[in-house]
């Protein structure tokens, strides 16, 4: 599995337990994780910090993940993983946007790790190369 500790992941969810669990797990893998609990905070962090991947919830009280994904896509091509229990909302609002994947809550950790790895892998590596920063 491709793991590059130089990669930064922005995790967005209004549920603190999800933010804590994902940042602990991905941080434990060596990724540098930052978190935001709403779209506005996420956009602010995205603009000010280098981000290689965004993982975002879809339904959040203060601006949903679809709006966030569309705003990010206007300024960047970084991969976005939407995590939600509502696949229809994803299909309706996001499935036509390039480089956006969907993971249905609840998910197995290995599915998340595989998707993260594939999203961050350099083109052509198919996410199967292990790269560890010194």
């Amino acid at each position: 599995m491709y793991t590059d500790t130089n990669k930064s992941i922005l995790i967005v969810d209004n549920e603190p337990s999800v933010l804590a669990a994902l940042s602990a797990r991905l941080g434990g893998m060596g990724y540098r994780c930052t978190t935001a609990d709403c779209s506005a905070q996420a956009l602010s962090q995205f603009s000010s910090c280098k981000t290689d991947l965004v993982i975002s919830d879809l339904n959040m009280p203060e601006g949903d993940g679809a709006v966030l994904a569309q705003a990010i896509r206007r300024i960047s091509g970084v991969p976005i993983i939407i995590i939600s229990g509502f696949k229809n909302a994803y299909r309706k609002n996001l499935s036509n946007i390039a480089n956006v994947s969907f993971l249905h809550k609840p998910f197995e950790t290995k599915s998340l790790l595989q998707l993260v790895s594939a999203s961050l892998a350099p083109p052509g590596s198919q996410g199967d190369t292990t790269v560890r920063a010194a």
Binding site: E15, S17, V18, R25, P106, E108, T109
Partner: protein
């Protein structure tokens, strides 16, 4: 072999955060969102520990334990109940069902993890014949 934990709760965020945490600890985790699926998944997967929300669709957590306890291989399986309802009724029902633990929401994940670790390694009572 990894202990298998079946979690039944209609809160997808809780299922997501708990399964990520438990899998990081080496547990195999199965998640379902209602009482009917909980009984069916318990029958199929033969988990080592049940984590049951008390109020969920298609029957409460206690009804799940009642049905699962009738399955020979799952008799005496440790059950951890999760609930936001702090009431004498719930506490008495949990005691009557010999729950391994009753945990009130919101809870600290580390507290639940230590209860799950204890439940997974607890000796099972010998089933009466």
């Amino acid at each position: 072999m990894a202990h298998k934990i079946l979690i039944a709760d209609d809160d997808r965020d809780l299922l997501t955060s708990l399964s990520v945490r438990l899998e990081a600890e080496g547990f195999k985790v199965l998640c379902v969102q209602d009482a009917y699926q909980a009984v069916e998944q318990a029958r199929k997967a033969q988990p080592d520990v049940l984590i049951l929300d008390i109020n969920m669709p298609a029957g409460d957590g206690f009804s799940v334990q009642d049905r699962v306890s009738k399955m020979t291989d799952l008799n005496g399986i440790p059950v951890i109940y999760l609930t936001g309802e702090r009431s004498v009724r719930v506490t008495e029902l949990a005691k009557a069902h010999h729950a391994f633990a009753l945990i009130f929401k919101p809870f600290e994940t580390k507290d639940l993890l230590s209860v799950v670790r204890a439940a997974a390694t607890a000796p099972r009572p010998v089933a009466s014949v």
